[in-house]
């Protein structure tokens, strides 16, 4: 009996903790007021990043995309609502209580419940409404929908960390310690990549997934995702570590510990575990770096994002495939097999034509005629293995083997029959995701200096090493290469893959708030249809010849 009570108490405590973690500040004006004009003596965040976010970042428009009327162009609002209706099969407004899109309908008949559930699945990515917050916020959103993918959508529900994070000593709290209060770690590259790709690729545990049915009904195709490129295009509302001046608490603490008492007290009252507070920012965030002779504060940010996210991006995809296969094999409703959105779009969606040049083209890996896995997320993962192995051929082979084996098993399972058998795909997909998680962690724990960027770029120019048969993998390669050359001068890097100034691979993203994702489809989809793998391979060859083998 006592045991039962104890169990119930533990469960309640866990629930309460989860609830507390999922507590949001329902107005975000607090964020804006501080981050707009940070204190002048604050070297850590002295720029004015929030303006960058509020005025140029597309994430803030994510919900408006679904319905808002542009006063200057009312037809645009109608077009949005028509498209959303076409995708959902009903008016978006039909799921909302009242005309202002502020609150979902509560209760009602089965049809209303269904509509509300469908709309909520949109809002997981188009606004700030994670599954974890559903219980506390069943019909009113945790943060105003009008803010779209708001501060708290990425940085976490802020009710518990809002106060402590204003203290400078917050920098010395470990990512795990911050997570106790609901704060999301966005400084660790792999964690950040996981966060972005949860929407940009999908994450079933978080209820984020664009199925083929929605694409067929008109949802724009999610483009491939390359972290460094997308960060640069957001544009960044943060300062990369390497570019921050030596800020307080980075390497040491003020001599006068007594002056910190108030700050530490705030942390303690907020519930930061004492063990999570370290002497310095370095000790909290890079505990092993010093022993390995690494200085992450000097890493090239683009190279780190490009290489580490290579593994993390494929991990998200493998996790998605594994999770969907598991649910489908178990017969969970809503997870019919096959789900076409899991496969390589270009394998089916290409023009049927006869062209003698196609006969000379190398055949992509796999079984002709069987839909394969998406190829582009595999493009960057090998870079992470090479980086983790220090570009030592022997070690690299060992390191890559941990990934290659489940990847080969998964590919074999996918190609054995048309669409593959979910029961035999689940295990290798999950093993692959686990191996990639470890690989991303290992790759993170290395130096991202100019030599590492060079080696990664040199590896990418080897067209025989990895596939360039499809447009999306080629674009991924081109994006990666531009980022790996960025430290030598952004302007030069941006000239890569331009043909007489023409962006023939259409690498330009529809950045800034006025850049339209739908409008951009009119450019990149024709570029994809006209993609010539032989031309791209030639171009990689020219680039390779211009590079020395060693840095």
């Amino acid at each position: 009996m006592t045991l039962c009570r104890a169990l119930v108490a533990v469960c309640c405590a866990c629930l309460a903790l989860a609830q507390a973690r999922a507590q949001y500040l329902t107005t975000e004006s607090g964020c804006l007021s501080c981050h707009k004009v940070p204190p002048p003596d604050n070297l850590f965040c002295r720029a004015v990043p929030v303006e960058v976010w509020a005025q140029t970042d597309k994430h803030s428009r994510a919900f408006h995309l679904l319905h808002e009327t542009d006063p200057a162009d009312p037809a645009k609002g109608d077009a949005k609502r028509t498209l959303v209706k076409q995708i959902l099969g009903f008016d978006l407004a039909g799921a909302f209580d009242g005309p202002n899109y502020q609150r979902l309908k509560a209760g009602g008949d089965a049809e209303t419940t269904r509509k509300v559930a469908v709309v909520k699945s949109c809002l997981r990515c188009h606004a700030t409404w994670p599954i974890a917050a559903d219980e506390r916020y069943p019909t009113r959103p945790p943060a105003p929908l009008a803010l779209g993918v708001s501060c708290q959508a990425c940085h976490g529900p802020s009710a518990r960390w809002d106060l402590p994070h204003r203290e400078q000593v917050w920098r010395t709290v470990t990512p795990a310690g911050k997570a106790e209060l609901g704060f999301t770690d966005v400084r660790t590259t792999a964690a950040k990549a996981g966060l972005c790709t949860s929407c940009h690729i999908g994450n079933l545990a978080e209820g984020k997934f664009v199925k083929h049915e929605w694409y067929a009904a008109g949802h724009p195709p999610l483009p491939s995702f390359e972290l460094a490129t997308f960060e640069a295009e957001m544009p960044m509302h943060w300062i990369p570590l390497a570019k921050k001046p030596k800020f307080e608490f980075r390497d040491d603490r003020p001599a006068d510990e007594g002056a910190l008492a108030d700050q530490l007290d705030t942390l303690k009252r907020a519930g930061v575990p004492a063990a999570a507070i370290k002497p310095t920012y370095r000790a909290a965030n890079f505990p092993d770096a010093a022993a390995k002779g690494l200085d992450p504060t000097r890493d090239l940010p683009q190279a780190r994002s490009a290489v580490v996210a290579g593994a993390a991006t494929l991990e998200t995809y493998a996790r998605l495939v594994g999770e969907y296969s598991r649910k489908s094999a178990a017969g969970e409703p809503g997870f019919a097999w096959p789900e076409l959105a899991l496969y390589d779009c270009a394998a089916c969606h290409h023009r049927l034509r006869y062209d003698p040049a196609l006969e000379r083209r190398p055949m992509p890996r796999g079984v002709p005629g069987r839909p394969p896995l998406a190829r582009w997320p595999q493009r960057g993962a090998l870079l992470a293995a090479e980086q983790a192995a220090g570009y030592d051929a022997g070690q690299e082979a060992d390191r890559w083997k941990t990934v290659r084996q489940p990847l080969a098993e998964l590919e074999a399972a996918v190609l054995a029959t048309p669409f593959g058998d979910p029961a035999s795909m689940q295990m290798p997909a999950e093993a692959l995701a686990d191996a990639l998680f470890q690989l991303a962690a290992d790759a993170s724990n290395t130096a991202f200096d100019a030599a590492a960027a060079h080696r990664a770029a040199y590896s990418l120019t080897d067209a025989t090493h990895l596939e360039t048969a499809d447009y999306t993998s080629a674009r991924q390669t081109a994006w990666l290469l531009r980022q790996l050359f960025a430290h030598q001068g952004n302007e030069d890097a941006r000239r890569l893959f331009l043909d007489k100034g023409e962006d023939y691979l259409h690498l330009q993203l529809p950045s800034k708030q006025q850049g339209s994702v739908i409008g951009n489809l009119y450019r990149w989809l024709p570029a994809a249809a006209a993609y010539d793998p032989m031309r791209f391979r030639d171009e990689l060859g020219v680039l390779r010849k211009s590079m020395p083998r060693d840095p």
Binding site: L83, Q86, H212, E213, Y215, A216, A217, G218, P221, A336, W337, P338, L340, C345, C348, H349, H350, R351, L352, R353, Y354, E359, M363, V367, P368, G369, R370, T417, P418, F419, I518, L521, Y522, L525, A528, A529
Partner: protein
């Protein structure tokens, strides 16, 4: 059916009362084959040409215009106007020279040689990478003689021979040149009566659409095999120098081309249904399932477009091979099952396909001479075909191609040269993938105009 009671009788007309069983086409028994050499002797079907006439006429070596070869392999080949085989009386030039004409002007004669071409080898190499038995799948269509030689342990030659289409000859060889021998008797002995349009279409469709054991599935297509897009009237028009003469028949039967088109449609659907039943039965054992070759290629194979068009995301079933047949309830049930999900229930599909095939066969009305009839008992003519096309189906590339082929068949028989020119322009639009709604509108206009002019031209 109740509109036309006489048809009930025709539908139940026993096979032995017809000139020949129109559904008899099947792979000849290799042990009953005699080989092409026997047919092609100088005193029979290989009589040498008189010295004044060249044995191999111009074009016999394939030096035709390149356009024929460069065509988009997914579009139908537009048929030209029917060529008269002989300058005067065909019988005088072809009789007893069938084999020479076959060698000189029929693409089927090149089937074995095709197998030595680099393109063929490349397709085979790609297909063999994942299916070691791929090579054994080619011979039933590309080299039926070689295939039969192996199983019957006799040397029958290579490629496609006379008996591949006309039936194994051992039992009728010594009879078929007898005076006054009846066709019925020969058919009973194993001759395939290719004069009957439906029997002829069945022979063609067994390879050009497929049949159990002759299966160009999606694995082969993806390895590079050209897609099978069969339409009898236009395929036959492509054989520039035929080894038979139908001049007199064309004069006698103004709807001959339309009959060919309609027979092709029925035989294609029939072959597709038998292939589907076999594929579905294999699904539980070794065959791939779902079989993507069952679907409209363009349902999936189209570049992603920015213009949003709503679709279910599920491919359409057999839009090519079932485009031209009359509505059938059992076919609709099968179509519904095939389009309901990406992975239809194979066991159920096998049964539905077999049932639809039986219904299709029962719905076909033939005269005792093997002429296709409409519901009112009259021979199926251009007007009836054009009327059948006038349905409210949503536009689709495959159906547009078949409709165009029907109009061309009607146009070749009864149309004016301006009709053919107009239809060729629509064919060019189809080839360059013009929006299908525009093409459908132009086809509908052409159909109305040709229909309106038909009564004046019909004899």
């Amino acid at each position: 059916m109740n509109r036309c009671p006489p048809f009930l009788l025709l539908a139940l007309w026993p096979a032995w009362m017809l000139a020949a069983d129109p559904w008899a086409a099947s792979e000849p028994d290799p042990c009953l084959l005699v080989g092409t050499l026997s047919c092609a002797s100088a005193s029979c079907h290989g009589r040498p040409e008189p010295a004044s006439r060249p044995l191999l006429p111009e074009g016999a070596f394939g030096e035709r215009s390149d356009q024929e070869h460069r065509r988009d392999s997914t579009s139908p080949r537009p048929p030209g106007p029917a060529r008269q085989t002989g300058p005067t009386s065909g019988a005088a030039t072809i009789n007893q020279q069938e084999y020479l004409h076959f060698l000189a002007g029929d693409p089927h004669a090149e089937a074995a040689r095709r197998m030595t071409e680099p393109r063929y080898r490349e397709v085979l190499r790609r297909a063999s990478q994942y299916d070691p038995a791929a090579a054994t799948r080619c011979a039933p269509c590309h080299d039926p003689l070689g295939h039969a030689s192996e199983s019957s342990h006799q040397s029958l030659g290579r490629g496609i021979g006379c008996e591949s289409c006309h039936g194994a000859a051992r039992d009728w060889l010594a009879v078929h040149y007898e005076q006054d021998v009846s066709r019925e008797r020969l058919v009973k002995l194993g001759l395939i009566d290719t004069r009957q349009v439906l029997a002829r279409a069945g022979v063609c469709a067994s390879c050009h659409v497929g049949s159990p054991g002759r299966d160009v599935n999606h694995d082969l297509l993806a390895a590079g095999h050209p897609p099978l897009l069969f339409e009898l009237a236009s395929h036959q028009a492509l054989i520039e120098r035929k080894h038979w003469d139908d001049t007199a028949r064309r004069e006698r039967e103004p709807n001959y081309e339309v009959q060919l088109w309609a027979a092709g449609q029925i035989a294609s659907a029939d072959a597709a249904l038998s292939l589907l039943a076999a594929r579905a039965e294999q699904a539980s054992k070794s065959g791939p399932w779902p079989e993507f070759a069952e679907s409209d290629c363009r349902s999936c194979h189209r570049p992603l477009r920015a213009e949003s068009g709503s679709s279910s995301g599920l491919p359409a079933w057999q839009s090519w091979n079932t485009a031209g047949i009359s509505p059938l309830g059992s076919l609709d049930v099968l179509r519904h099952e095939m389009q309901r999900s990406l992975v239809p229930q194979a066991a159920q599909v096998a049964g539905l396909a077999a049932a639809a095939r039986t219904d299709l066969r029962q719905s076909v009305r033939l005269s005792p001479e093997g002429v296709l009839l409409c519901a009112n008992g009259r021979p199926l003519d251009a007007a009836a075909v054009l009327e059948r096309l006038d349905s409210a189906q949503p536009p689709n590339f495959d159906r547009a191609c078949q409709e165009l082929a029907a109009l061309l068949a009607a146009g070749r028989s009864l149309g004016a040269p301006s009709d053919l020119a107009r239809l060729r322009r629509i064919a060019a639009e189809l080839r360059r993938d013009a929006p299908i709604t525009e093409i459908a509108a132009r086809l509908a206009a052409a159909r109305r105009e040709i229909s309106d002019n038909l009564p004046a031209r019909q004899p």
